[in-house]
């Protein structure tokens, strides 16, 4: 049967990845643009150009993140519970930073006071920087393994601390995500702006693409030196979701095992480098639209590289390895996966089509003149 439990679990692994990549591509440039705001906007009008380049669309973009969270809850409830309660303060920090965005965008230009606006600029910067960094740190910690376990009634116990999340490897992963979103945001600004901001964005694209690729390469070598995990008992991909039914072992370099088994997978990280370089070239050739597609592919392949390395693990446990969550034992029931699959199949294309329409309506450059002419209606 096509829609057996194993297939549905694989589909939901892919769909979760798709939603995360969707967020990185759309919400990602908003975060990048917000981080660049204080650096690329030299005066109030320039900063308003930057804010308004994403003003009409950022809200919809952020829904990718909200929906990815909802999908994690619905399809991988154990992973949602473990990650959100375990990474308590990291998520609290992300949440508090994300608070600054809706109010920052909407309230900033409602009053003319320079102090008021300056403070909201800082708020928007923090609201972009903190999530962009922490998302990567979280991925880094997933690769390192998370100290948690279940008791027999599936109550979760997290035994690490907040500070332990900030280990060197995870910080490197955080830098990858931060730099790649800055790169992506700069490409987007290059599309939406003219003149000075456009020129400054181009410099940022080149610089941050290179930094992203360098740290990504370093992290790649680093991965071969940290412990990876593997399932050491037989895998039953169609069984009930009980993470305690398997055994797990770890060893240095195991995260590269999938690439060894299936060398064609090397294409994914390789593509991250290729598309990174084409992003720089296209940006330099003043083809920002194509550069945006290219940088989107860079983000997608970097995220996929992490996902594929860990497969089938979602959240490996470093303290009691048998509690690790994998694609085969952390999902919802087959009934829920199926219903959510059909709902997604119907609604995702609808979402994509009206999102495309919204971007088409709002297409075109944001200029200094535009801001002056629409002083009271723009952000």
């Amino acid at each position: 049967m096509i829609f057996d439990y194993e297939t549905m679990r694989l589909i939901w692994w892919a769909l979760l990845g798709a939603l995360l990549i969707g967020f990185a591509i759309t919400g990602g440039f908003d975060l990048g643009v917000a981080i660049l705001l204080p650096f690329l906007g030299k005066n109030d009008t320039e900063r308003r150009v930057i804010i308004n380049s994403v003003g009409a669309t950022w809200e919809g973009n952020q829904v990718w993140f909200v929906t990815a969270g909802g999908a994690l809850f619905a399809a991988w409830p154990m992973a949602y519970s473990v990650a959100f309660s375990g990474f308590y303060f990291a998520l609290l920090l992300t949440l508090f930073a994300l608070f600054l965005r809706p109010v920052g965008f909407d309230y900033r230009s409602k009053l003319p006071s320079p102090i008021w606006r300056r403070n909201w600029d800082i708020a928007l910067f923090v609201g972009g920087l903190v999530p962009a960094l922490i998302f990567g740190v979280a991925f880094g910690n997933l690769l390192k393994g998370v100290p948690f376990h279940f008791d027999n009634e599936m109550r979760i116990f997290y035994t690490g601390s907040f500070w332990a999340l900030l280990n060197p490897f995870s910080l490197a992963a955080g830098l990858v995500s931060l730099c790649m979103l800055i790169m992506h945001g700069a490409v987007y600004l290059q599309i939406k702006t003219v003149g000075d901001i456009n020129q400054r964005s181009k410099t940022v694209v080149t610089l941050f693409t290179i930094i992203t690729l360098v740290i990504f390469a370093l992290a790649g070598f680093w991965v071969s030196a940290i412990d990876g995990y593997q399932i050491s008992s037989t895998v039953s991909p169609n069984a009930f979701s009980n993470p305690l039914a398997k055994t797990v072992t770890n060893a240095t370099g195991l995260w590269l095992a999938n690439y060894g088994r299936c060398p064609v997978l090397w294409i994914i990280p390789a593509l991250a480098f290729v598309t990174g370089i084409t992003t720089v070239l296209l940006s330099k050739l003043d083809r920002p639209g194509l550069a945006f597609i290219s940088s989107s592919l860079t983000l997608a392949t970097i995220i996929l590289t992490a996902g594929v390395s860990m497969f089938p693990f979602l959240i490996p446990s470093s303290s009691e390895m048998n509690s690790s969550l994998t694609v085969w034992d952390a999902s919802s029931s087959l009934a829920t996966l199926k219903i959510m699959f059909w709902v997604t199949l119907i609604f995702l294309p609808i979402v994509l089509s009206y999102t495309t329409w919204a971007f088409r309506v709002m297409r075109g450059k944001i200029t200094l003149e535009y801001i002056h002419q629409n002083d009271h209606t723009t952000y």
Binding site: V103, D106, T336
Partner: protein
């Protein structure tokens, strides 16, 4: 054992953040519709003033919307962060409506809200109107899905416990979606949102009229709000009554607690309008009773009795004892003893497993619970009467006050000479009332479900994450300081723009823009 104070802190945090979230949601729900109505009038009549109305009330909508978005994010995070056992135990069912809410509602709302604000010059009249309606549709769809999720917490249908995974699993999506508790709550809640927004527009328009400025603008806004508000408040009251009927069917303890119905009366039960309930003695002093009314609301009949708390307690004692059997069998199953007898035993008692779990608050060894512990668990299965009794009555009183004012407002809108200053002042002072009613309503819904997060399935104290008190103090302090700060900023902007009125649109035809300052 889970620390009681950690549970209390988690509950305070959830209560604070969700009640705060619901300061902004009802206005978004209702105002989006009012904007769509105003803009429709603009498109049909071609009169610019209706466009100005859409844009001005839209400005206030935007200020409110930002905080709605901000605080809504907390809700999604919090289930996993603070209620991770809940998320594990029921994520299979509860997660689905949340994910669908994202796909079906949030995308719609959030994508088009951008076009609503920035698309005026880029879209045709009809296109922009469509966008506004889609924003309204999106916000209301999101209410639908969140109430499907909440309705399931009140009346968990279409799900089965699976001992292999130690959680509830979905057995019927249709039952989840067409859950009577969810349907009735959805309409009651969105109607409450329409009422809130109507009271908001009505009150602010009355303020302009009292100040004698922007008369044409204010009168038109007042009329629309009055009409929409009257229809909305009538729906709220009728559907609130319907909600009482659904409670009578599925949440007997909540209904009995709201009504301080200590003992089963002979049908049809009388309604205690007011009195002083005493949980210890299980009686209500100075009770003023209206015969028949409760029986009619709760059962829609004159011969079905409404179960009193004493009788519910009696039944729950037995359910706790059954729950011990269910829990005992579950322990064997979890230990791998999956023989026919154990499975049969578990299947026989599993509908009372939740009541067995109530014992975990009093003992680690549920199967060896003493009679005294069983009594404590059974007693804990009843919600506390006093807070429910009063919050419910405040909510209902708010409803009827609003009904009266909306009736007068509608009359005043059609007959000019009825539009007197006392009514305008009443309209202005009414602004906070729908918010009080909404907050009370949620309190009744959630506190009335205690001691459960999922009625009769999962006790609240078991639902929490394994965090420390310090964790909770820190996060609670963070939420309270940020939320207070943002509320001050929001109120400041809201009041500033309300005072500016339509002059804030810079169209050159409103009060503060006209040199003489005496516009009409």
């Amino acid at each position: 054992m889970i620390s009681e104070s950690m549970v209390d802190l988690s509950r305070w945090q959830f209560a604070a953040t969700s009640l705060y979230h619901f300061l902004f949601v009802p206005l978004t729900l209702g105002l989006s519709f009012l904007l769509a109505i105003m803009e429709s009038t603009y498109v049909m009549t071609g009169k610019e003033i209706y466009k100005d109305m859409t844009q001005f009330w839209g400005k206030l909508f935007g200020i409110n919307f930002a905080l709605g978005v901000m605080t809504g994010l907390t809700m999604e995070f919090q289930f996993g962060m603070n209620w991770s056992y809940f998320s594990h135990y029921v994520g299979d069912i509860f997660g689905a409506p949340l994910a669908i809410e994202g796909l079906m509602a949030f995308f719609l709302e959030a994508t088009f809200v951008g076009l609503f604000f920035f698309g005026w010059d880029k879209l045709g009249k009809g296109q922009h109107l469509l966008v506004t309606w889609l924003v309204a549709l999106g916000t209301n769809l999101s209410a639908l899905w969140i109430l499907v999720a909440n309705g399931w917490m009140q009346n968990p249908v279409g799900a089965e416990f699976n001992y292999e995974t130690m959680r509830m699993e979905l057995s019927s999506f249709g039952a989840l979606l067409f859950n009577p508790a969810a349907q009735v709550k959805f309409v009651h809640t969105v109607a409450a949102g329409y009422t809130t927004a109507s009271a908001f527009v009505l009150g602010i328009s009355a303020y302009y009229m009292l100040k004698g400025r922007d008369a044409a603008f204010a009168q038109r806004s007042y009329t629309i709000a009055a009409g929409f508000g009257l229809a909305a408040i009538l729906s709220v009251i009728v559907l609130g009554d319907e909600s009482g009927y659904t409670d009578g069917e599925v949440q007997k303890a909540k209904l009995a607690a709201i009504e301080a119905e200590w003992h089963t009366e002979e049908a049809p039960a009388s309604f205690t309008a007011i009195g002083i309930p005493d949980q210890e003695l299980m009686e209500t002093r100075y009770a003023v009773k209206i015969p028949w009314i409760l029986g009619l609301i709760g059962t829609r009949s004159i011969d079905t009795p409404i179960m009193g708390l004493t009788e519910i307690l009696e039944k729950n004692r037995l359910r706790v004892r059954n729950g011990i059997h269910a829990y005992g069998a579950l322990q064997l199953l979890r230990a791998g003893q999956k023989d026919e007898h154990t499975i049969a035993e578990f299947e026989h008692y599993k509908q009372d497993l939740g009541y067995g779990l109530l014992l975990k608050r009093y003992t680690e060894k549920v199967v060896d619970a003493t009679d005294q512990q069983i009594e404590l668990a059974a007693k804990s299965s009843l919600p506390r009467v006093v807070p429910l009794f009063w919050t419910f009555r405040v909510m209902v009183a708010c409803g009827f006050i609003m009904l009266a004012i909306f009736v007068f407002a509608v009359i005043a809108s059609s007959i000019r000479k009825c539009r007197q200053n006392w009514l305008l002042r009443a309209s202005l002072y009414m602004i906070p009332i729908p918010w009080i009613a909404c907050e009370m309503g949620w309190f009744v819904a959630e506190f009335g479900r205690q001691p459960w997060t999922i009625a009769e399935i999962l006790p609240t104290f078991l639902s929490v994450s394994s965090l420390t008190e310090l964790d909770l103090y820190l996060s609670l302090a963070g939420y309270i300081s940020l939320y207070t700060l943002f509320l001050i900023i929001e109120m400041f902007l809201m009041i500033k723009f309300i005072k500016l009125g339509p002059s804030s649109l810079h169209k050159g035809r409103y009060h503060f823009e006209i040199a003489t300052g005496a516009s009409l």
